[in-house]
Amino acid sequence: MVERQSPLEPVYHPGSHGNFEHGIDVILSETRPGSILQLAAWPGEEKRLMSGIYKVTGLALPDGAGGGVSNGAKSAFGFAPGKFTVVDEAEGLASAFTGVLTPSIGTLTDLSHGRTAIRIAGPKAEWVLAKFFAIDFALPAFPLGAGRSTNHHDIFAQIQRSSADQFDIYVFRSFARSFWKALCHASEEVGYEVQ
């Protein structure tokens, strides 16, 4: 496999930054998953696609808009009607769907090289993200594992809540550096650490 380079590399500076004298309230990192897939079901085939995702990843997607689940290594969430993002730390997830996701069920698009995954964690993660996106980040409105599609100044973003105070954001690779720099600026006031 060709080694994948991060678009964030020139601006990725591990360490503490911003107003961290009073503590670090946000931790930023790039998770660099090996596989990022987009799966879309034909109308009426959503349940078969969801059972296919379960068969391949072991992730049981809940019913309902934006429902999702994460087990640490693998994650999946709905981002549009009949469409799901499935992420794996390991490479090669797309080939695992061969024979499971048949053309009669839907389609698979491998976006592993097209998206950058950014993780924001910490007690002020909701606060910082609320400066970017006009959606409700409170836990009752955005439950654990759930996904949301939204955008920030034309940078389309898919966001999954991977734990109570942690979010994984998937952005276009070509916009990732710009988004990362904006995220760093927005995190300065609360004190942030890049890992």
């Binding site: 934006g66 549009a80 009607p81 599609s149 955008n151």
Partner: protein
């Protein structure tokens, strides 16, 4: 202005793209009825009140929606997926 996407829930209008009047009836592609094509391309009700519209949630789930919006107050009266092909009935 907030539009409640049937999938994503209430979102700011900035996430949506207006896709035109939802009252238009597109003639069959082979139709040579010039009056029908003329009506499809040019005729608009332009009401001062409830209006059937097509919107796309382009900054979210990207679904096309049937929206009834009041052109005087900008109140969104109903939203539904456009895929069903059914016109959304306006409130009045």
């Amino acid at each position: 202005m907030l539009i409640t996407c049937p999938y994503c829930g209430p979102r700011d209008v900035i996430e949506f793209t207006y896709q035109g009047d939802g009252n238009r009836e597109r003639p069959q592609p082979a139709s040579q009825d010039l009056d029908a094509w003329n009506a499809y391309v040019y005729d608009r009700l332009n009401p001062a009140g409830d209006h059937n519209e097509i919107w796309q949630h382009s900054g979210g789930c990207r679904a096309h929606l049937r929206v009834v919006r009041n052109t005087l107050t900008h109140e969104i009266l109903s939203t539904a997926f456009a895929r069903g092909g059914h016109k959304t009935e306006s409130r009045s």
